[in-house]
């Protein structure tokens, strides 16, 4: 039996591990710098992260050698269990204003939504590969959307908008993978864009023109097209109006909901400090352990959400560039495995996981560099955080498993 497992591991696309280990080292180097310079005695972020590597590697190996068939068979059950798991924190106490963690009674807490991300992906993969769906029809998309929407809605209420976003994204790419019409996918995204762009007249005008062009090119039935267009425009127009009807404290509540990390020192403080950390690092960085923004604690949540700023400050642009290349390489490699996979189930899982990694990467780096609003999303393999690290290595295990050529 052991030989069989060994055989399985050996035939896995192990080269993907190189990227994750390089990224992991980068993260640990930064965590060590923080712990050492700021004289934090263990247990600190570095020591805890190192400790979490043990269950992470163990679970990765489990995920690598698990039978695909078994996964396929029980995934709906696991999906059901995970729905309950993400609901459990609501029974417990609020931690930092959110119901996100399950208290295990031990030294650590567990964040089930991290696991839920890829459980949804596998459940979706099973649904999309089991049924011979006519993807030309919009109606075929409804059930997959519901599969990812249910846990998303629960997580939104925790509230954890970042994770919710990551949960919703794989369904788009996976539907695209199985041949959904881009126009249909566009229809899913369009209402959100209508609302988001509504706050700026120029951007909204541009969006309205884009919308009209896309609808025109896609040539839907006349009435469908007209309804779609005006439905979206109406949504965009009504939203700011409704927004202005709200009282200030209601607005604030919604803003805090969208961005729970709003700082007491004022919105934007985190972003300013993060950009300053990055920018002052320059091309080569200030040197390991020399980041003043980091060590004088101007940089907030530096171990987890803003660790990119620590890397940027101490190791410079060149290191961030290398980091991005490592990420692209890894994600594209997973996509390629998805493309070459012989069965649809495996392919879809790989596409979903690559989407999760890509979403984390873009949202995290975009947030720390001030491109997008603050969403508390960590960076895979680099950010501190036990549940997330374990989850990332489990996804890596899935990649190794489903990226394998043979079918057991």
């Amino acid at each position: 039996m052991f030989a069989e497992f060994w055989q399985k591991i050996k035939s896995s696309p192990l080269s993907i591990l190189i990227f994750s280990i390089l990224l992991l080292s980068l993260g640990l180097a930064s965590l060590y710098s923080i712990a050492l310079v700021q004289q934090q005695p263990p247990p600190n972020a570095f020591s805890k992260q190192s400790l979490f590597l043990i269950p992470a590697f163990f679970l990765m190996i489990i995920m690598t050698i698990l039978s695909k068939r078994l996964i396929h068979k029980y995934i709906y059950l696991i999906y059901g269990i995970i729905l309950i798991a993400v609901s459990i924190p609501f029974l417990g106490e609020q931690v930092s204003g959110a119901y996100r963690w399950i208290n295990t009674g031990l030294e650590f807490t567990v964040q089930p939504s991290e696991i839920a991300k890829w459980v949804i992906v596998i459940a979706l993969a099973r649904y999309l590969s089991d049924h011979n769906l006519q993807m030309r029809n919009f109606s075929s998309m409804i059930f997959p959307l519901i599969i990812s929407l249910i846990p998303t809605l629960i997580v939104i209420n925790q509230p954890d908008l970042g994770t919710a976003l990551v949960m919703m994204l794989p369904v788009i790419t996976m539907l695209f993978w199985v041949g959904a019409r881009p126009f249909h996918l566009f229809l899913i995204v369009a209402p959100f864009l209508s609302i988001l762009t509504a706050f700026n007249v120029t951007v909204f005008t541009f969006w309205a023109i884009m919308l009209a062009l896309i609808i025109f090119i896609s040539k839907p039935q006349l009435w469908n097209g007209v309804t779609l267009y005006f439905g979206n425009i109406f949504l965009g127009l009504i939203f700011p109006f409704m927004w202005n009807l709200l009282r200030p404290h209601q607005k604030n509540r919604i803003l805090t909901f969208i961005n729970p990390d709003l700082d007491p020192l004022g919105a934007g403080y985190q972003i300013i400090q993060s950009k300053t950390a990055l920018g002052s690092g320059g091309f080569l960085g200030k040197g390991w352990g020399q980041g003043t923004q980091t060590h004088l604690k101007f940089l907030p949540v530096q171990e987890s959400d803003f660790i990119v700023s620590v890397i940027g400050e101490e190791f410079g642009f060149i290191t961030l560039l290398v980091m991005l290349i490592l990420f692209i390489w890894m994600i594209i490699k997973i996509l390629k495995l998805a493309f070459t996979a012989s069965d649809r189930f495996s392919g879809l899982i790989l596409v979903g996981i690559s989407t999760i990694f890509a979403a984390h990467l873009f949202v995290n780096c975009g947030m720390t560099s001030g491109l997008i609003p603050v969403k508390g999303l960590p960076l895979p393999f680099i950010s501190y955080g036990g549940s997330f690290l374990v989850s990332c290595f489990m996804m890596l295990g899935l990649v190794l498993n489903f990226g394998r050529e043979e079918i057991d």
Partner: protein, 588 residues
Amino acid sequence: MLRSSNTVSKSRYFILAICIISLNVILAYRFFQLQVLDYDLYSQRSDNNRIRATSIPAPRGLIRDRNGEIIVDNYPTYVVFGIGAEIVDIHKNFSVISHTTGIDTSILRDNYKSYYRNRFLPTRLAKDLTISQLSRLEESKDKLTGIIYKQYPERIFNPRIRASHVLGYLKEINQDMISTKSSTNDYQFGDLIGWSGLERQYESLLRGKKGVSYFQVDSFGREAGNVKGHDNSLPQPGQDIYTTLDITLQELLESEFKGKKGAGIVSNPKTGGILSYVSSPDYAPDLFTGLISKNDWESIITDPDKPLLNRVSNGTYPPGSIYKMVVAFELLEKNFVSTDWEILCTGSYEFYDRTFRCWNEFGHGKVNLEKAIIQSCDVFFYQAIQNVSLDELKIRSKEFLHGIPTNIDLPTEMKGRVPDRQFMNKLYGRWGWSKGALLNISIGQGEILVTPLQMAAYINLLATRGSTYPLHLVQQNKELIESPMVSKRSWKLIGEYMEKTISNTKGTGRRSDPKIQGLKIAGKTGTAENPHGEPHAWFLGYGEKNGEMISVVIMIENGGGGGSVAAPLAKKVFKQYFSRTLTNLVSQ
């Protein structure tokens, strides 16, 4: 189930790959923008975040007298600061400080409000704490949070003299003054700046250069070590200023002026250096250091004797008879009178329908120029002046420094007033004044006004026969004052007359002579009528012995007769100065 084949078009794979690559290109460009293109901006911001500079005050230069004795010194006082971020209960802090040091809580609260910059920077609560106040505060330190002390140098004054109008005072710079002082922008809110007198005139020398110490702070504003690459600079103390003042003479003259209103200047005609400079009444020089109470301030500014007025340089008075030398020079130079030309003084002079009186109502009898100076006969000048035009007299007056600023090294001085035709026309209208005004001016009355300081320059010019230097307190001007265009004979004659004014038994200035062997004194008195009451008593004169010379100007506001009131005061100055040089010579 797993057999459903993975039929994906290559284009879909490529589209996803391109999406991921392009998102990362956006990220890479964003990092490039922040870290390479905008590096300088963020590097600066990062430094601004963490690097704090505090200035170390430079000890201000001392002010010394001509012998090096210190007039204005520094002594350490303590300033109490509060750091907003570290203060737990501000009201408790205030009450503890107030209780231990006796400073009113309202002062603490006002200071905290007006000096507050941000919660991490020390905010000044009180200054001028003595060591004992500080030690009491130190004892109750466990009840205080966020309170620190710093030592500051403060001005302290030689108790022998006041000289407040010369020395001036320091004032805290305010926001408006900082913006006007933009060229020297190392002034900060709350710094002291020379506000008047020598402190203001020599601000740039006295001030020195503040030192800077850099330190690093963390995001809570707590100190976190030194900053690499930023060297601290030590403060450069201000330069000491050696004045020409003679502290002993100043002490004497100040005590003589006690209870009187007026001005006294003693200077060296050969250099222009001022030995003594008194404007009375004055104020304590430390009035403006520390907290001035509202009552003190009210009583100073509402005092009818105007102690804040610098009478020496900024008070203008009619010169009275001391002006007569100017007229005498004009008469001699233009040959309007000869030395034996005589008039008869009967005590008054009828000019058209007006009667002009001599100060001596019984008359001086037969009077020539010599007697007119010695006994200060007014009638002589009423008659002699009639050939002189007002404009010519003005030219002569300016030669003798009337109506001309002395350019003394003090921030302000008045120019005085010498009337000419144009001025009179403007004041009274073309036909509104007559030659009678000229008669009045000839004895230094009427529209002519001078400052005591101008008179010091004038007597120096007379003492040196036209080769004196501008008056100064610190820095000597290397260029001689332009000499009046008068003949040697005139210098000699006027000099003799002024000597006789002192030595003659009927000379008006005889009371100024201390009768010291070898001391020759020359001078002139004046009794200037004015609408404010008693006449102003004037004396100006110079004494010379063994080549050493000083000049004295005394003006006592509403003091009475110059010969009886001002001259005896000058005598004390001469006596002290020249008996001192005698003992000095003996001791050497």
